[in-house]
Amino acid sequence: MSVSGLVITLSEEPSARDRALESLEAYPGIERGQLSDRWLPVVVERPDDESGEAVFREISLLPGVEYVDVVFVHFENADTKQGALGNGQTKGMHGSPQVTAASNR
């Protein structure tokens, strides 16, 4: 089980903000908290941290979402079983770095 607490910064523009809120409704496993101005707390629950990352990435790219901060991570069952050695593969380089762009501005 992977549980993360996120704060989503929504657009200043009201219609874009509404669109983002509607899009977020469509995601299973996301629990929305109370909106504070344009900052929305959410909890994401997923079976593993990899699928949690995927949701995080998708949220970051939603129209009307400016960025996403992570403030809580529970990773009890995370797969930390792999060492660094042998990770010389090159695939994926252009894929996921933008995940963290949103989380850290």
Binding site: M1, V3, S4, G5, L6, V7, T9, E31, G33, Q34, L35, S36, D37, R38, W39, L40, P41, V42, V43, E45, D49, E50, E53, D69, V70, V71, F72, V73, H74, F75, E76, A78, D79, T80, K81, Q82, G83, A84, L85, N87, G88, Q89, T90, K91, G92, M93, H94, S96, P97, V99, T100, A101, S103, N104, R105
Partner: protein, 811 residues
């Protein structure tokens, strides 16, 4: 509430509190997950293990494992936020290849041995030739670890060959501070980021390297505040995206830009004459360069900077003259508050001391100093580069609390505090890092007089420059012996003769000191795996074995072991025996022993018990009349610094000239040690990425971070790539006069280099960019330049991957 619901409730509480705080709500509400309810984690405080920002995390522990991480909302540094590395910090403990037992190389292979044997081997190597022993650590040493290491060397072995890897990252900041103010460490603090009107980043990429600090500024914008961000850099980074101004300069010419600003301040008559008259003198370098130089008059200074006209600076740097004028005008305005930030871009520079001095100088010349938001601030890349590496005396020329081995009165003070005989501390500075490794990698009969080297908490096999010369040269030298204490196999353990498994982060007690002079304490929360043990214990155990072998330096004046400790009943505790190490709080005792050293330079650190209660306290910390303890945000400023005499606005009370004045330096622009030419036509710059910390030994074990950034790359301009015939992602060769590596080219990636430039991150142990870096050092700080050397690229197999002939460094 079941366990799952409790965890979700905790996550939502944290997120809600943060959302309310970001929105400016007066009452954010409780965001902390509560402690130990039912089947839920126990929560503890600790600073993050990674960079020098010093974010505090709440660590959730259950069944002897770290299971959750939350940003600590009680921490001033991060107010509950963490970066992508920070919220995964707990996972660094659980990579499957943790080292769990001592390993001794026999017949070319590392084989398990007992701790007793391992300690014995080290002690006997030292006994054979104590002067040929070196100790190498880092800004990741906790304060007690660094303190105990340098005490073993300086007070025990009378040997100053100890260095932290901070020489590779912060030494130029140190010499910049010391030669300007007479004392190390920044005067300002992170509050400057909350109050500045203009933030200038000098070769600095805080959006990736110090993201939580950068978010403080970006959050201000989100709330409608106006902050002007200026990026002065040699490549576009994620930071650039947030800046109103981007000034791209030719590498090394930041020296000219700073002088250009100084020239304009004088020419326009907008420098702060009153500030300069009351608080400053002018200085220039001697021949050869020296830390304190020689005096010059204002008129001489004016003439020296006069040639740095905007047009001349444009000619050197490529930055348009109007942009130089813009900087000059901003610094000339007294109604604005200006903060400068820098880190490796200015420090890892063959003229690192000079550029540090010059940036301090334009702040002093313009009076942008000493008010919240007006500050020249150097950030650190490691969690305790300030607190440990710089302050406890782990540099080869230093003693604790800003003292120097070369000064007799400083040595006598330390000998007295340590109760060791007068004359015990050697007056000869040890080798600086590059020299230390050079000596270790040189055959003994050719002058390589370091034969045994003990490495803790760092990975020199990946982070030293020009690794062929400074690390791999050890191969085949039969009488050299490398001991590496590590948590995971690394480029350093590959060549080690003895590997010691170390405890990591919350597997031990610890104290760090961050970039804003904040000392932070935590307690051990979980057991280390297998037979891994604390670095501090290792050092004490070695010292004890030396004591047993009869090394006289391991005894104080009274014949007692130099690390003897007693419990509350007055009985000596055998802390060198691992089962007894935690019978008492060794960290607390070492830290309290260290505290009096901090008083001479008015860097008074808080008592240990006060640190236990706080999320760090910024030194100097002084006791108040009511018995409380007060930290200091702005050093040398009368409104906040308790050591400034009453009625004074500013007082540089450790000034080089002993008259409470700081020094404004002139240093000329000088070319880089190696610049592109016809054959090696690119500039090569190295650095870091958001997801990985330092050499990646920890973060490459964290699956989400590894997936996000799995390997290093060669960042290249699309026109250069087209000209070379490279496609995006193609694995190519990168060559310098030191060697070659292969890595995929990344065009239009996260960073954007200008034409003629390349950037390669250094976190990837499979693509060791430091095999090809230069290793030229600043003549004063001895810090290497990792940001500039000449390189060429080619298709894989297209060139001879040879160590080239020709001069390595311009004479």
């Amino acid at each position: 509430m079941n366990r799952r619901d409790f965890i979700k409730f905790s996550a939502m509480a944290a997120a809600t509190a943060m959302a309310r705080r970001k929105s400016g709500a007066a009452e954010a509400g409780p965001g902390e997950a509560s402690n130990g309810e039912g089947n839920s984690p126990e929560w503890h405080k600790a600073p993050c293990r990674f960079c020098g920002t010093g974010c505090h995390v709440r660590v959730g522990v259950q069944d002897g494992r770290v299971v959750a991480i939350q940003g600590d909302e009680k921490a001033d540094v991060n107010n509950g936020l963490l970066c992508v590395k920070g919220y995964h910090v707990g996972m660094i403990l659980y990579g499957k290849d943790r080292l769990t037992q001592p390993l001794l190389r026999e017949g070319g292979e590392l084989k398990p041995v007992s701790w007793d044997k391992a300690i014995d081997v080290i002690a006997k190597r030292i006994m054979e030739d104590p002067d040929a022993f070196g100790f190498y650590g880092s800004g990741q040493w906790t304060i007690p670890e660094g303190y105990v290491a340098q005490k073993l060397m300086k007070a025990g072995l009378s040997n100053n060959h100890i260095e932290p890897n901070a020489r590779l990252c912060m030494a130029s900041a140190v010499t910049g501070f010391v030669s300007t103010y007479g004392v190390d460490e920044p005067a300002g603090c992170y509050q400057d980021l909350d109050e500045c009107d203009v933030l200038i980043m000098w070769g600095n990429n805080p959006a990736e390297m110090h993201p939580v600090l950068f978010s403080r500024v970006i959050d201000r914008r989100s709330r409608g505040e106006k902050v002007r961000l200026i990026d002065i850099s040699t490549r576009r980074t994620r930071t650039t995206e947030f800046c109103q101004d981007y000034l791209e300069f030719r590498p090394q010419t930041d020296l000219a830009i700073a002088n250009g600003i100084a020239h304009l301040l004088i020419q326009n008559g907008t420098f702060d004459r009153e500030f300069v008259d009351r608080y400053c003198h002018f200085r220039q370098d001697t021949e050869p360069d020296s830390l304190f130089g020689k005096p010059m008059s204002f008129e001489e200074y004016r003439q020296a900077v006069a040639k740095y006209t905007p047009e001349y600076v444009e000619e050197l740097s490529g930055v348009p003259a109007e942009k130089i004028r813009m900087l000059g005008e901003l610094f000339g305005r007294r109604d604005l508050r200006i903060t400068s930030l820098w880190c490796m871009g200015m420090n890892q520079h063959s003229r690192g001391t000079a550029i540090n001095r010059l940036v301090h100088g334009i702040h002093l010349l313009s009076g942008h100093f000493g008010r919240p938001g007006d500050a020249p601030t150097s950030l650190t890349g490691q969690p305790s580069a300030c607190g440990t590496a710089r302050e406890v005396g782990t540099l080869a020329h230093a003693l604790p609390g800003g003292r120097l081995v070369a000064k007799e009165d400083h040595r006598r003070q330390c000998e007295k505090l340590w109760n060791v005989p007068e004359g015990r501390i050697s007056s000869k500075p040890g080798y600086h890092t590059v020299k230390l490794w050079e000596k270790f990698c040189t055959p003994t009969n050719q002058g390589g007089d370091i034969r045994t080297l003990f490495v803790q908490v760092t990975n020199p096999g990946q982070s030293l420059p020009n690794l062929h010369k400074h690390f791999r040269g050890k191969k085949g030298l039969e009488d050299k012996f490398l001991v590496v204490s590590e948590v995971y196999p690394s480029a350093s353990t590959e060549l080690a003769d003895l590997v010691l498994p170390a405890s990591l982060w919350v597997e031990k007690n610890g104290i760090f000191g961050n970039s804003e002079r904040r000392t932070q304490q935590w307690y051990k929360m979980v057991e280390p795996p297998g037979d891994a043990r604390d670095d501090c214990w290792m050092t004490i155990a070695i010292a004890r074995r030396l004591y047993e072998l009869g090394h006289s330096g391991m005894k104080d004046r009274d014949g007692q072991f130099i690390f003897a400790m007693k419990n509350d009943e007055g009985e000596e505790v055998p802390i060198w025996q691992w089962p007894h190490y935690y019978d008492i709080n060794v960290d607390k005792r070492l830290y309290e022993e260290y505290r009096p050293f901090t008083w001479m330079k008015h860097k008074n650190v808080a008592p240990y018990d006060e640190l236990v209660k706080a999320r760090g306290l910024r030194w100097p910390v002084v006791e108040t009349d009511d018995g409380g303890w007060r930290e200091t945000r702005f050093r040398f400023s009368g409104f906040d610094d308790p050591f400034v005499e009453e009625g004074k606005r500013i007082q540089f009370y450790h000034s080089v000239t002993k008259d409470d004045r700081a020094l404004i330096w002139f240093n000329p622009y000088e070319p880089a040690a190696e610049e592109p030419d016809k054959e090696f036509r690119y500039w090569l710059c190295t650095g870091r990425v958001l997801e990985h910390w330092h050499t990646g030994t920890m973060t490459m074990r964290v699956p989400p971070l590894r997936r996000s950034m799995p390997h290093a790359y060669i960042e290249m301009h699309p026109d250069d790539a087209a000209e070379e015939g490279f496609s995006n992602g193609e694995v190519i060769q990168l060559m310098t006069r030191r060697g070659q590596i292969e890595a995929p080219v990344w065009i239009e990636g996260r960073g954007r280099v200008p034409r003629g430039s390349l950037f390669v991150p250094f976190f990837d142990e499979h693509r060791l960019v430091n095999l090809v870096t230069l290793g030229a050092v600043c003549p004063i700080s001895k810090e290497p330049d990792y940001k500039k050397c000449a390189a060429k690229v080619g298709k894989v197999g297209s060139s001879t991957p040879a160590m080239a002939k020709g001069p390595e460094v311009r004479p």
